[in-house]
Amino acid sequence: MLNIFMLLFSRQGKLRLQKWYVPLSDKERKKISRDLVQTILARKPKMCSFLEWRDLKIVYKRYASLYFCCAVEDQDNELITLEIIHRYVELLDKYFGSVCELDIIFNFEKAYFILDEFLLGGEAQETSKKNVLKAIEQADLLQEEAEAPRSVLEEIGLT
């Protein structure tokens, strides 16, 4: 089960997260995401979650204002990929507490960290929700210990 890439984008077609599991140039990545986002946004709501696109299998699902989309290889299992997406959404939801698009925009780095704990090299690494969240929580604890007090100027965002 190899995920080739994963994209999160809004209804307006803005990319919110992109993760590539195969080496591609920046130019290729931009072209693929542009074309694919257009293709998916043009589909109607009740349509099937799978489509053949170029020589890839695309699995996607919309959650509120965000589309989650994975490209997998030809022999890969579509339904389990759909549930990969769902588990990732659950992880984000649990971590942010009712996740919304803004959480992912403002904390994009966290979205990437959570994804890395869950999927690595395009394969499911840890499918237990508890274990993934435990790893992220531990990292957050390390973070808090490390944070030193910031200056007042910094706090109001002037630097």
Binding site: K30, E83, Y112, A124, A135
Partner: protein, 867 residues
Amino acid sequence: MPAVSKGDGMRGLAVFISDIRNCKSKEAEVKRINKELANIRSKFKGDKALDGYSKKKYVCKLLFIFLLGHDIDFGHMEAVNLLSSNKYTEKQIGYLFISVLVNSNSELIRLINNAIKNDLASRNPTFMNLALHCIANVGSREMAEAFASDIPRILVAGDTMDSVKQSAALCLLRLNRTSPDLVPMGEWTARVVHLLNDQHLGVVTAATSLITTLAQKSPDDFKTSVSLAVARLSRIVTSASIDLQDYTYYFVAAPWLSVKLLRLLQCYPPPEDASLRSRLTECLETILNKAQEPPKSKKVQHSNAKNAVLFEAIALIIHHDSEPNLLVRACNQLGQFLQHRETNLRYLALESMCTLASSEFSHEAVKTHIETVISALKTERDVSVRQRAVDLLYAMCDRSNSKQIVAEMLSYLETADYSIREEIVLKVAILAEKYAVDYTWYVDTILNLIRIAGDYVSEEVWYRVIQIVINRDDVQGYAAKTVFEALQAPACHENLVKVGGYILGEFGNLIAGDPRSSPLVQFNLLHSKFHLCSVPTRALLLSAYIKFINLFPEVKGTIQDVLRSDSQLRNADVELQQRAVEYLRLSCIASTDILATVLEEMPPFPERESSILAKLKKKKGSSKLPDMDDSRKNVNGNTEFVCKNNGVIYENQLLQIGLKSEYRQNLGRMYVFYGNKTSTQFQSFSTSVSTALQLNVQEKPVDPLIEAGAQVQQILNIECVSDFSDTPVLNIQFRYGGTLQNIAVKLPVMLNKFFQPTEMMSQDFFQRWKQLGAPQQEVQKIFKAKNQMDTDVTKAKLLGFGVALLDGVDPNPANFVGAGIIHTKTTQVGCLLRLEPNAQAQMYRLTLRTSKESVSQRLCELLSEQF
């Protein structure tokens, strides 16, 4: 989970993101970004050393800017500095930046690798994980060179934390995909396979992916994983849904792991060990049974996870293609899904049935669903589902239902989406040709295609109908009559004019007896379309006219007048003008005899593979559409190579594989040539051979890069240990563009390759023939000739098969008698054969006697396919 972490710390970043979001226009955004970039650049260049926090914040801003789609050309050094920070969050941001924006700048790679090395050695699991994630995300060759030898050690070490093991397994998998040559598993193999037994299901999940990838490349090394995978799977499918705690997903026990295990098993044939095999069959039956149980939850996640496992189980059943009972159950299950209310399930059922249709065990069962599939074609609202329905109809088509399927496809074509019309046209054309019993149906079908979807009928399709009409004289009169009638329509597609012009030009005489289609009527009909057509069609019509002059002397004058007119003789198009001038002169000066010779009916076209089929394959790319012909050919194991050793064994539009081979006693050497047909390099090219125990195949290494248009050679050394019937399979894997290609080709290594011909006298032959008289030593087969019965061809085939032909042994000179010895490492098997052709009945009788029953059987199978 505390909501603490939201936007923690980096307030400057949050403010910047807000600013960007508030920008009203693209210009404003670019302006804001440029301002920020200038600010960051000055901070990085400034005299004052930045503290870790600021560096982290600025690097994070750069990352954000990059992810918005802007180019970033600085900041890499600062990110690398963050890697060696001892503060976790700084390190983490550094790694994230590196993972997203790798730069192959060698200076930096060395520094990055250094930092990774330190973190891997730190024994701090959180740091180790960060480092492993980075390697897995970047996966570059330099990293493979630096770490490929350390990671397996981390993976199998007893004191490694579970989470680190998981990262290490997938990290290794990624490196193996990008640089397989640098990741030798050798000594670690057994311990890696053993991870399938690990207590921690997360470790098993990650390890299964790794093992699957490795097993695809070298199945033999990982054979032991089969029994462990079956045991694991069996424990999962029989567990109560709560047993696996957090690995249970919406009441389904470890769905991801189950799917991965089933995938791993698809790297292998069905287990040979009977108890293992029955345990696996039980698992598959349990999964099929569960599909019939009432759902434990109404949530779609429950049914998705459950069905994900079910579809993977069905994929394994199809892959094994050996248990008719399971195949038919799978087919029935998919049949239920065809009418499910979930679009996703209907889509998948159609897709999965396509592969079932090509199994001989389930082809009939698939066919029973024809009505449902046809109704899907008519009622599905989603074009991608309708596309699957077309694919399935194509796959399930055979002689018994071809008329119905072709008719349905034609009627669907009238309303089909433009995006899939051309493909449907090709499919209809192929099916109509393949299953035509009488060719009048074929001609009608193609003319219908042109009528309904003329714009989508490519040259290949109308060329083909002409080839077929020319080659079959039983259909020529009908074709002429039908095109004549079709041309009566006031508006007809130009493709019809082309076909009509060609066919009437050749065979118009066959309908000229009827006054309604007299030569003059035919000519006027064609010529009435002339002015509406494009130049190539007009050129074709001019040729039809000159053919008319030969067929029907009575219209010569009329046609000459047309050719002589200014619009022809002085046509601005040079091709049309030239034809008009030449045809006119030809008709004036040549005698009837010369005209008849020059304009003789076209000779039959040589029979060859339909160009339409080639076109469809091309259109589908490296497609998975199971073309029945292809899969059947592969199942038979390249019969054409039984009697020859050299040639092309595989070709698609990316890759051509040719081979030369030579055999001596029980040893063989095969030179395999891989040709890259594209203008792009193939990367990570690797091969492996899976073979039965009775054969040893040793592969020499092959270059992982094949340049565009280049050919590389690989040598395989083959040893025959004892007699065998399964041919080895060559698995090829490479990256083309961004995607991984997997190809499996049967290698034509058959038992008869190890023949040594033996000359002997008549009396010796009969003496041995009698010695081998026990019933199980003789195998006889009577079969119909598939090819023309030609003595020389038969001789050549028998010699190619490997035996010596013995003259003057058989009293009937039309019969063939041969002898040879099969050499294997363990034994030698003497072999005598006799082939009796019966030209009148177009049959052969083949008799084989050898000292070993299995050898007699196998040789008889192989040889009887040849005639």
